[in-house]
């Protein structure tokens, strides 16, 4: 019996070692050869809800029969998309050639060496693109991704109660008296503890002139009078009821539904809510609402397309990036999927304005937009902001303590 057990242990040990020996190894950054080689590539992005990407890819495939693009769709959940990309990059998978990265992940992937810098033969022309989108794709002075779609916040307001929209936070708070007179609540935003809270808080802090991190992307800069002002104006609005407590449970959809039910005078939301508020059968505000640029600075949303450092056909990937950024394709994205284009000139294009009337207002919003912290530690930084901002807004901590904790947490996150 004892002998048999020993033999077993030996077999298991060998089996275990054999499997562990199968772990990946080696592989480095791409060589010059990959930079100029061409061939079929795969384009990876989250689920294409509007079914607009495959037709675009078909257009490319017709013109480039030897360099066909295959679409790979991920899940709709942003966290799952992030994790899927991380797993494939860690495995140095050469099947992911062009990947669609959310603007907040670009720095993280660039710092881990997974994205090919767009320089030399892979350079792209960014002069006609919105400056804020280019900034979100840049890490330590190098461009790592090509902006493909953008997004900014809009202020939705009831034009039957407030004919001219406010332009500053104080003006908006003053307009809340009209909300009380009409017996509705004043301002709706997204203040649940999730990424939307980082967006809303960043908009308020940036709008007051403060910044969350300095331009190096790591050093927090929250102990300034401007940052305090940005947080304090939110806290005051919660305290005096201009922002009702239920906003602490709001994400995009609940806030849109509350505005469409006529319960709010102002709402901060993304452009997607525009078409829903005008076409939903249950919307009571169909022709009673207007849109304006945010009174605070807008946060920047959107996606960039990047070339994987492990791709074997980077020249093709580079041309595909330029294709996605071309005017023709950007117009299709706007008309078919209500995405915000990254080419500045398109915001003044009359055809597009006819089908998407929010474009001029969105342009003003995005021109003033401030990207969320461009840092490779974005998950930890956004968590630091979310947790502490929620504590402050729910009244569990005062503004000074909350900002100090946020600062310490970001500092410790940036130290790895």
């Amino acid at each position: 019996m004892k002998k048999a057990t020993l033999v077993f242990a030996a077999v298991l040990a060998v089996g275990g070692l054999a499997v562990s020996g199968c772990s990946g190894s080696g592989g480095g950054s791409s060589t010059g050869a990959a930079n100029s080689s061409r061939g079929p590539i795969t384009y990876v992005q989250g689920k294409d809800n509007n079914n607009v990407v495959q037709p675009v890819i078909d257009m490319w495939n017709q013109k480039h029969p030897d360099e066909k693009v295959t679409l790979k769709e991920q899940s709709t959940d942003a966290n799952q998309q992030h994790d899927d990309l991380v797993q494939n990059f860690q495995a140095k998978n050469s099947n992911y050639d062009v990947v669609s990265v959310d603007v907040v992940w670009t720095a993280e992937f660039a710092a881990k060496g997974w994205l090919q810098p767009l320089e030399g033969s892979l350079k792209i022309d960014t002069s006609n693109l919105l400056p804020a989108t280019v900034k979100s794709a840049t890490y330590i002075g190098k461009l790592y991704a090509a902006p493909v779609s953008s997004d900014g916040g809009l202020l939705y307001y009831r034009k039957d109660i407030v004919p001219t929209p406010p332009t500053t936070w104080d003006e908006m708070m003053a307009d809340c008296a009209k909300a009380k007179a009409a017996n509705i609540s004043c301002y709706a935003g997204q203040f649940k503890q999730y990424e939307g809270l980082t967006v809303n808080v960043a908009e308020s802090i940036n709008g007051a002139g403060g910044e969350i991190v300095k331009s190096d992307g790591k050093t927090p800069n929250l102990q300034t009078a401007e940052a305090k002002k940005g947080m304090q104006q939110l806290v005051d609005a919660f305290k005096n009821g201009n922002i009702p407590q239920e906003n602490l449970t709001f994400m995009e959809e609940p806030s849109r539904q509350a505005f469409e039910a006529g319960k709010y005078l102002f709402m901060r939301n993304w452009p997607y809510a525009y078409s829903l508020a005008t076409t939903d059968a249950t919307s009571v505000v169909k022709d009673k609402f207007g849109i304006a640029p945010l009174v605070t600075a807008s946060s920047l949303g959107g996606h960039n397309a990047a070339i994987s450092a492990y791709s074997k056909h980077q020249a093709t990937a580079h041309d595909f990036l330029q294709f996605l950024e071309s005017q023709e394709i950007q117009k299709i994205f706007v008309q078919k999927a209500s995405l915000a284009p990254v080419i500045t000139a398109l915001y003044d294009d009359q055809d597009l304005i006819k089908t998407n009337p929010y474009l001029p207002v969105l342009k003003q919003s995005i021109l003033k937009a401030v990207p969320r912290p461009v840092t490779p530690f974005y998950p930890a930084v956004t968590q630091a902001i979310q947790v502490n901002a929620f504590q402050v807004l729910s009244g569990a901590a005062d503004v000074n303590t909350g900002l100090k904790n946020m600062q310490d947490a970001i500092k410790s996150a940036a130290n790895g």
Partner: protein, 335 residues
């Protein structure tokens, strides 16, 4: 003439004192071991290797940012620093500020144990009650048994979303209670919401396991006790409870180990809750994976040790014997 021969000498087998019969048995056992060797190998690779790999990784440092290049570089050997990071709340040289994952460690332990104890107690009491009802013979019993199982059959993610809508600010819970409770944005309401959803979902599981134990008790015992003049309450405490104790302990053991691993219900219902009010250890591990893989490996090793300790206490000191109880139930015997 009839001399009784001396008894034949005992045949000495090569293994000394063992008889041939024992030798055959050993031979059988050996053959059996070789036959199950492939399964054990697969289990060792699928269970043992990740476990060992996680422990090895927990002794490595996470990749750090090189300040000059701005690129990540491999961290080196970390010693126990990943463990002190969690246990002693050390974020490098300073104690962890609120808003980092590590500051939520002790809160996560409290939440995990709080949820486990409260949900297991509630589910045991309610499950016992439901099992007693399902044990009696009456018309429609099959329908009751099937409908009781429905909450358990619904995938947990769907359950979590259902209860998310019920507990929304404009949802049914607030309407019925004529209140305006912010269920998912305040600490204690969020915890209560999770407990309600979990008890709704898992009580059928407990009820089924306890029902298996109840069905083995023969009716003669109850008849005899009635003859002796025992009341229903006395029957319950003196006969039913002691006789279902093995099945009850097994059910509680399963449920406790499940509850200690709770992830999907709090993650989807509250996302970890306001602050870290409903963050369990599993949620913390998944959040940490996105930020630093090796620290997450240390945390999952700690979780593993914790659950192992709880299971050990159950089996050693509280007498939960899964194998013997299942065998007895299959044979229809009382242990």
């Amino acid at each position: 003439m009839a001399v009784v021969d001396a008894p034949p000498e005992k045949i000495k087998s090569p293994r000394g004192k063992k008889t041939d019969k024992a030798a055959a048995r050993t031979h059988e056992r050996r053959a059996a071991l070789w036959l199950i060797a492939p399964s054990i190998l697969i289990l060792a690779v699928v269970i043992g290797y990740p476990l060992v790999a996680a422990v090895i990784q927990s002794f490595q440092k996470d990749a750090g940012l090189n300040p000059t290049t701005g690129l990540f570089e491999q961290g080196g050997f970390a010693g126990f620093s990943n463990y002190t990071h969690w246990l002693l709340q050390q974020c490098g040289p300073v104690p962890c500020p609120p808003g980092t994952n590590c500051a939520s460690f002790w809160a996560a332990i409290f939440n995990t144990f709080f949820f486990t104890i409260v949900t297991v107690v509630l589910e045991t009491v309610l499950g016992l009650w439901m099992a007693l009802i399902m044990n009696r013979a009456y018309r429609g019993r099959a329908l009751v048994r099937a409908s009781v199982l429905v909450p358990w059959a619904i995938p947990t993610a769907v359950t979590a979303k259902l209860w998310f809508f019920i507990f929304a600010t404009a949802g049914i819970a607030n309407v019925i209670l004529h209140a305006q409770i912010l269920w998912t944005s305040q600490a204690w309401p969020a915890r209560i919401a999770i407990i309600i959803a979990d008890v709704w979902k898992t009580t059928p599981f407990m009820a089924l396991l306890i029902l298996a134990g109840l069905q083995i008790i023969p009716d003669e015992i109850y008849e005899a006790s009635r003859v002796d003049g025992a009341s229903t309450v006395q029957q319950f405490f003196r006969i039913t409870l002691p006789l279902i104790k093995p099945a009850l302990m097994v059910a509680i053991l399963f449920r406790t180990l499940d509850a200690l691993r709770m992830y999907d219900l709090p993650a989807i219902l509250t996302g970890g809750g306001p602050g870290n009010a409903t963050t369990t250890l599993s949620i913390l591990v998944v959040d940490q994976i996105r930020q630093g893989f090796n620290a997450a490996a240390a945390l999952s090793t700690l979780t593993f040790l914790l659950i192992f300790a709880v299971a050990f206490i159950f089996v050693r000191f509280l007498g939960a014997n899964v194998v013997a109880t299942t065998e007895a139930q299959q044979k229809g015997e009382l242990r």
